[in-house]
C-alpha cells in the first residue's frame, strides 16, 4: 500500500500548498495527502484533488472541452472545480494548478475479473459518449497517423541498435537489447503489414469509429464505485480509432496475466455490451496489438534517457518484457483464430 505513495516525491515537492492557492478555489483545507503526483485535499466542500499542470493552458482547455463533450452523455468522468473567477485553473507562483472533485471509488484491479469486466463495459460507454468529438489542435488528432508512427518507431529502434552496437563495452541492457532487437523489429514490420492490409484508412474516415480516446487506461485511472467504472486523468487524451484505446486497455489488463486470451475475450464481450465493433476493427485491433509497445518504450526511455531510473531498473524491466515474448506470441495466434482474422 505505502510503496507507491512517494514515488513522485520530487514532483510533489514542487507544489505550493498555500492557503492563498486554496482560497482561489474558495476552499478551506484541513488536511492534504499525497497520492502519486497529486494531492488529495480534505476541505470544507468535501475531498478534492489538487493537480499541478505540466502542460500548456491550450492543452488544458482541450481536456476541458473533451470532458464537457463527454459529460453530455456519460457522467462518470471527473469535474473541474472552478476558481472564484470561474476558471478551471489558477496560476500561482508561476505554476498552473487545477482542482477536481475526488471520485469516491477505488482503483481498478486488473487481476480482478469483476473489476476488468466493469471497466471494459465502462470503456464502451465512454467511447459511445466520446464519438464525434472534434478539436482543432493537430497533435491531438492521431487518427490516420498510426502506420507512419510505427514506421518512425521502427527507424528509432534501428537507430538504438546502431547506438548499442557502437558501445565498445556493452552493458547488460545493450546485450539483452541486441539479443532481441531483430525479433522485435520483425514484429513491428509485421504489425505495419497487418495494418496496411486491413481497412485502417477506411475506418479512419468513418465517423462512428473515431472517438476521443483516453489513451492512458492504467488501473489507477479507472475507479470503481458501486459496480461502475469512472475515468480520470485525461492528460494524454487523443482523437483516434476507438480500437486504439481498446488495444491499450487489453494489453495493460492481460500482460501481468501471461497474456490470457480468455481475459481479452471477456474484455471484448463486455466492451461490446455498450459499444459495437465490426470485423474490420478486429483486424486493425490485431495489427495494433502486434506492435511491441512495451519493448519499444523501454528501449526508447533507456537510449534517450527519458526516465531517471537506475540501470538495474531498466535491465529488470527489459528482461521482464522479453520473458513475456512467448506468452504474447501465443496470445496473438489465439486472438487471430478466435476472431477469424485472415
Amino acid at each position: 500500500m505505502f510503496e507507491s505513495r512517494y514515488r513522485d516525491k520530487k514532483y510533489l515537492s514542487q507544489y505550493s500548498l498555500s492557503v492563498e492557492l486554496f482560497e482561489e478555489f474558495s476552499l478551506k483545507v484541513t488536511d492534504v495527502i499525497p497520492v502519486r503526483n497529486v494531492y488529495i485535499l480534505c476541505t470544507d466542500k468535501g475531498n478534492k484533488i489538487l493537480k499541478k499542470i505540466d502542460y500548456s493552458i491550450n492543452d488544458l482547455e482541450y481536456i476541458n472541452s473533451a470532458i464537457k463533450f463527454i459529460k453530455d452523455k456519460f457522467n462518470r468522468v471527473f469535474d473541474f472545480v472552478e476558481t472564484k473567477d470561474n476558471k478551471i485553473y489558477t496560476i500561482f507562483n508561476g505554476d498552473v494548478y487545477c482542482v477536481m472533485n475526488l471520485i469516491d471509488g477505488r482503483e481498478c484491479d486488473f487481476y480482478n475479473a469483476v473489476d476488468v469486466s466493469i471497466a471494459a463495459k465502462g470503456l464502451g460507454e465512454l467511447h459511445s459518449a466520446a464519438e464525434g468529438f472534434k478539436y482543432n489542435i493537430n497533435n491531438k488528432v492521431v487518427c490516420g497517423k498510426t502506420i507512419d508512427k510505427f514506421n518512425r518507431k521502427l527507424e528509432e529502434i534501428e537507430f538504438f541498435k546502431s547506438i548499442a552496437n557502437l558501445h565498445e563495452n556493452k552493458n547488460e541492457f545493450d546485450k539483452v537489447f541486441l539479443d532481441n532487437v531483430n525479433y522485435y523489429s520483425d514484429l513491428i514490420k509485421k504489425s505495419i503489414e497487418i495494418l496496411n492490409a486491413s481497412s485502417y484508412y477506411k475506418l479512419c474516415s468513418e465517423e462512428d469509429k473515431v472517438v476521443l480516446c483516453h489513451h492512458d487506461l492504467a488501473y489507477h485511472n479507472i475507479l470503481i464505485y458501486n459496480d461502475e467504472a469512472y475515468f480520470i486523468d485525461f492528460d494524454y487524451a487523443i482523437i483516434d480509432l476507438k480500437v486504439h484505446d481498446l488495444c491499450n486497455f487489453i494489453i495493460k489488463a492481460i500482460k501481468e496475466c501471461a497474456f490470457d486470451i480468455e481475459k481479452a475475450d471477456l474484455i471484448i464481450k463486455d466492451y461490446c455490451r455498450s459499444n459495437i465493433l465490426d470485423k474490420r476493427e478486429f483486424e486493425v485491433l490485431y495489427g495494433l496489438m502486434t506492435f511491441p509497445e512495451d519493448f519499444y518504450s523501454i528501449t526508447r526511455d533507456y537510449y534517450t534517457r527519458r526516465k531517471e531510473w537506475e540501470e538495474e531498473a531498466f535491465v529488470e524491466r527489459l528482461n521482464k518484457r522479453v520473458l513475456n515474448k512467448e506468452d504474447k506470441e501465443e496470445f496473438l495466434e489465439e486472438f487471430k483464430k478466435k476472431f477469424c482474422i485472415d
Binding site: 500500500m1 488536511d31 495527502i33 482503483e107 480482478n112 475479473a113 469483476v114 520473458l323 506468452d327
Partner: protein, 252 residues
C-alpha cells in the same frame, strides 16, 4: 506524515473493533498440533474478518487489493508449465530435472488445470463480487504467532493486511499446515471454517480447489524456469522429489 495517518486510521478502526496490534509470544509446536487447535485458529481468523470487514481506508487511500491474484497466478503457472513440458517433449530433456518433469509433469499439470476448472465451476466470479461488496479484508499471514486471542484478538503486524476474499486466509492456513507435513481432516476444517464465516457451500468447494492446487510443485518449476535460485538441476530435482513425497492431498 501521510503514512502515519493511514496507519493511524487503520489502527483506530481495529481498536474500535476490539483488535490490538502488538507482540504475540505464542509458541506452537506444529508437530503436535491438534485438529482442535487448528479449528480454534480458524475461528479466531474468522472473528478477525468479521471485525475488520467494511474498512474503506483513509481519505480513499486503501490497503493493497489482492482479490483474484492467487487464481491469476495459478493460471500463469499452468500456462507456463504446459509450454515447458511441450518444449521438453519436442527437444528431449536436457538434464535430470527435465527428465523428472517429463515423467510426472503431465499428471501435475492435469491436476492444476482441474483445480482451476473446479474453482470456476463453483461460481468464482460470484464469490469475488460478494467479497468486494462486503469489503472483505484478509490477514495475509495466519500463523499462530501472527494472530492470537486472549481477552481480545491480537495481530502482530498490519503489513500483510489486504483486501481479499475471506476464503483465501483459510487457504493460507491449511497450506501452511500441509507444508509442515501435518495430516488432518482438511475437508472438515474447511466446512467448519465456512460455517464460522457464514459462507455458502460453494466457498468450501472453492477453498478445496485452491488447497488441492499443487502450488509447491508449480513454484519449484517456475523457479527452475526463471533460474531464481542459485541451484543446479540436481538440487531442483531433489526439491521437486521432496515436494512430490509430501504432496498427498487432492480433494477434487
Amino acid at each position: 506524515m501521510a503514512i502515519d495517518k493511514v496507519y493511524d486510521s487503520l489502527l483506530d478502526y481495529l481498536g474500535q473493533n476490539g483488535i490490538k496490534v502488538g507482540e504475540i509470544d505464542t509458541l506452537v509446536n506444529y508437530r503436535n498440533l491438534t485438529e482442535e487447535q487448528a479449528l480454534e485458529q480458524l475461528f479466531i481468523i474468522s472473528e478477525f474478518h468479521k471485525k475488520i470487514m467494511g474498512y474503506n481506508g483513509y481519505m480513499n487511500i486503501r490497503l493493497d487489493n489482492k482479490t483474484g491474484r492467487m487464481i491469476e497466478q495459478y493460471k500463469i503457472y499452468n500456462k507456463k508449465l504446459k509450454r515447458d513440458i511441450k518444449k521438453i517433449k519436442l527437444n528431449t530433456p536436457e538434464n535430470q530435472f527435465e527428465e523428472l518433469l517429463l515423467e510426472i509433469g503431465d499428471v501435475y499439470l492435469e491436476r492444476a488445470e482441474n483445480c482451476i476448472e473446479e474453482i470456476y465451476k463453483w461460481d468464482y466470479i460470484d464469490l469475488i463480487s460478494r467479497s468486494m461488496q462486503r469489503v472483505e479484508l484478509c490477514l495475509g499471514c495466519t500463523d499462530f504467532n501472527h494472530i492470537a486471542k486472549d481477552e481480545s484478538i491480537v495481530i502482530s503486524t498490519l503489513n500483510n493486511c489486504c483486501y481479499n476474499m475471506v476464503e483465501i486466509d483459510c487457504v493460507y492456513f491449511i497450506n501452511k499446515l500441509k507444508k509442515k507435513g501435518l495430516t488432518m481432516n482438511w475437508e472438515s476444517l474447511i466446512y467448519k471454517y465456512c460455517d464460522f464465516e457464514g459462507l455458502e457451500c460453494k466457498s468450501a468447494k472453492f477453498i478445496s480447489g485452491l488447497v488441492s492446487y499443487p502450488y509447491e510443485f508449480m513454484k519449484c518449476c517456475s523457479r527452475y524456469r526463471e533460474n531464481k535460485k542459485d541451484w543446479d538441476e540436481l538440487k531442483y530435482k531433489e526439491k521437486l522429489l521432496k515436494i512430490i513425497e509430501r504432496d498427498n492431498y487432492n480433494l477434487i
